[in-house]
């Protein structure tokens, strides 16, 4: 009897470990090939995509890191992402606050209207959006990418903010109002300082989305000097065709900030990217 359960649990744990390791291999192998591929010569890459480089050659990396284009694109991304995150945090939290703390007619309808935005991907609006951005003269500007990103980030952010604000203790609000504190002051001086976790969660959600976004810059930007890095990467690939060692090095360079940030702010990233399903 015990022997049988033992054997069963042994085979169960072998199966479990097999699955875990296999899945890990599936995930990590492409990373391994990408990072090392940047150190190989093109000829070596062709014959051994998997092994360690026989001769570590950092030229591809150095070329990329010393190119001013690389840094310009990183900077463009930082500007676009920075403004997108700041704008979403401010206007989404303000709107969510009116939903959670102020009574007014038609609130439920207005809320449903905004939440509707979650159902419809940017592609449903992309063509008229392009015409609109063009007609107000924002093609090839940061704003032309920032505004659509903000607009499409709002629905989810308002949802997350509202849920958080409604969990704040009601007494806090009543006490503040009795003391003659206005709604506006209550929001800026009491709610906001208490909302750091949700600001971080929403901030990360918007930040990652904006940093990685490709479709809006692709449509709105034609001028290389304002390209964010994903467009730069695709441009680079177009330029170097199948010089994969260079392209893999470029990929690695663009991945590094993301991985570093992930390891640094794991908790908020997981919370933010799973839409608050995982509590931070």
């Amino acid at each position: 009897m015990t022997e049988m359960t033992d054997r069963r649990s042994v085979s169960a744990s072998v199966a479990r470990w097999g699955l875990l390791l296999l899945a890990a291999l599936f995930v990590l192998l492409p990373f391994w090939m990408t990072t090392l591929g940047g150190f190989k010569s093109l000829g070596e890459l062709r014959v051994s995509p998997l092994g360690l480089p026989r001769q570590w050659d950092a030229t591809a990396y150095l070329d990329i890191l010393t190119s001013s284009m690389t840094w310009q694109m990183m900077l463009n991304s930082v500007v676009i992402t920075g403004f997108t995150v700041a704008l979403v945090l401010i206007i989404a939290s303000m709107l969510a606050f009116t939903f959670s703390h102020i009574r007014f007619a038609g609130k439920q309808y207005l809320y449903s209207y905004v939440i509707l935005g979650m159902m419809f991907p940017g592609a449903t609006a992309i063509l008229p959006l392009f015409i609109k951005i063009r007609d107000i003269g924002l093609l090839d500007t940061y704003a032309g990418v920032i505004l659509p990103q903000v607009a499409f980030g709002l629905a989810m952010s308002v949802l997350l903010f509202r849920t958080f604000f409604e969990q704040l203790p009601k007494e806090l609000f009543e006490a503040a109002l009795v003391d003659g504190c206005s709604y506006g002051r209550f929001f800026w001086t009491i709610v906001m300082p208490l909302s750091k976790p949700i600001l971080a969660t929403v901030g990360v959600f918007i930040l990652v989305g904006s940093w990685n976004n490709y479709i809006f810059p692709l449509i709105m930007l034609n001028d290389q000097s304002v390209y964010p890095w994903p467009l730069g990467l695709m441009e680079f690939r177009g330029q170097y065709g199948s010089e994969w060692n260079r392209i893999l090095a470029y990929i690695t360079v663009t991945i590094l900030p993301a991985v570093a940030f992930f390891l640094y702010a794991q908790k908020y990233i997981v919370a933010g990217l799973t839409g608050g399903a995982v509590k931070g």
Partner: protein, 319 residues
């Protein structure tokens, strides 16, 4: 005369005090002014850049228009012709089928895999945390990066596929250039990038399952599988619903990952999804009306999904 003046005056002050009184009642604590300051920014951005463009897609979809000059100049009313063409286009059928394939692969492979992994590593422990971190890693990459990495892997001259064919002395094989393989190859990348994300959603659910419940069941003689199917899964239904929701929405907007993998929908358009079809025929070829008609169809599909999801998936759980 005078009495009329007095009456008017009284009426005016009356009105004034009524306004004051109304303001006092409604603007306590700056209620009205806060509403007027806090609502418009987000509401305007949302309306102008999300809702209005969606509505405009509806208008444009009835025109033949290249978008270079105003709609009233160069647009030509074509009625339902755009829709007729799209609905009869075999490439569009393929695009819809491919989009459905992403959903199917998610439901049949990706989500069960994510659940199996979640069940194995939901408990605390540093090794489990490490595995979680690894599985989640691809998700933080941009879709274009994930696509480009796999473009290399699938390259018949360089990548993993090349290593494989060389090892067995076979001819070079280019899965992405093969009609039958291209989209399946893309599906592998979808699973690679997203299973860790769904796993994370499940782990969050599993961690909120009370431990004493599981213990009690075990004491009552429930086996491992019974505990999973009778206790854990029913309790984390909200997490499962959420991950299904994200899978379908993700499939409906699938685009960025495909861009570096295949150009113009791959070999004879066999790897198109709805959004790459929209991009190729609406944007690349500057056919705003046609592309808008695709957008309208996409909108309708999203709306149908939203309705079904609300009505059946959400409702069943509250019952």
């Amino acid at each position: 005369m005078k009495s009329v003046d007095i009456a008017l005056e009284a009426q005016r002050t009356g009105r004034l005090s009524a306004v004051k009184e109304w303001l006092y009642r409604h603007n306590t604590g700056g209620r009205l002014s806060t509403l007027l300051l806090f609502i418009p920014p987000a509401l305007m951005v949302f309306t102008l850049l999300v809702i209005l463009p969606i509505a405009e897609s509806g208008v444009y979809s009835f025109y033949r228009w290249n978008g270079f000059t105003a709609l009233s100049d160069s647009g030509r009313w074509v009625g339902w012709r755009n829709f007729q063409f799209i609905l009869q286009d075999p490439v569009f059928h393929q695009a819809v089928w491919n989009t459905a394939k992403i959903v199917l692969i998610s439901l049949l492979i990706q989500l069960p895999l994510a659940m199996m992994l979640a069940l194995s590593i939901a408990s605390k422990g540093s090794l489990n945390t490490l595995f979680r971190l690894v599985y989640f890693l691809p998700f933080i990459l941009a879709d274009v990066v994930a696509g480009l990495i796999w473009r290399f892997i699938y390259d018949g001259n360089f990548g993993l596929v090349a290593a494989f064919t060389q090892l067995f002395g076979m001819e070079s094989f280019y899965p992405l250039a093969d009609r039958d393989w291209a989209f399946n190859a893309i599906l592998v990348v979808v699973v690679w990038k997203y299973f860790g994300y769904h796993m994370m959603i499940y782990i969050a659910g599993l961690q909120s399952v009370p431990n004493d419940l599981v213990e009690a069941a075990r004491l009552d003689g429930a086996g491992r599988l019974q505990i999973i199917f009778r206790i854990k899964l029913p309790l984390i239904m909200p997490a499962i619903r959420l991950s299904i929701f994200f899978s379908v929405i993700g499939a409906l907007q699938f685009f960025e990952m495909a861009m570096p993998l295949v150009t113009s929908g791959g070999p004879s358009g066999s790897a198109h999804t709805i959004v790459t079809y929209l991009y190729e025929f609406g944007i690349v070829r500057s056919r705003i009306g046609f592309g808008s008609a695709v957008a309208v169809l996409l909108f309708v599909m999203c709306a149908i999904f939203a309705f079904i999801y609300q009505r059946f998936v959400m409702a069943r759980n509250t019952a």
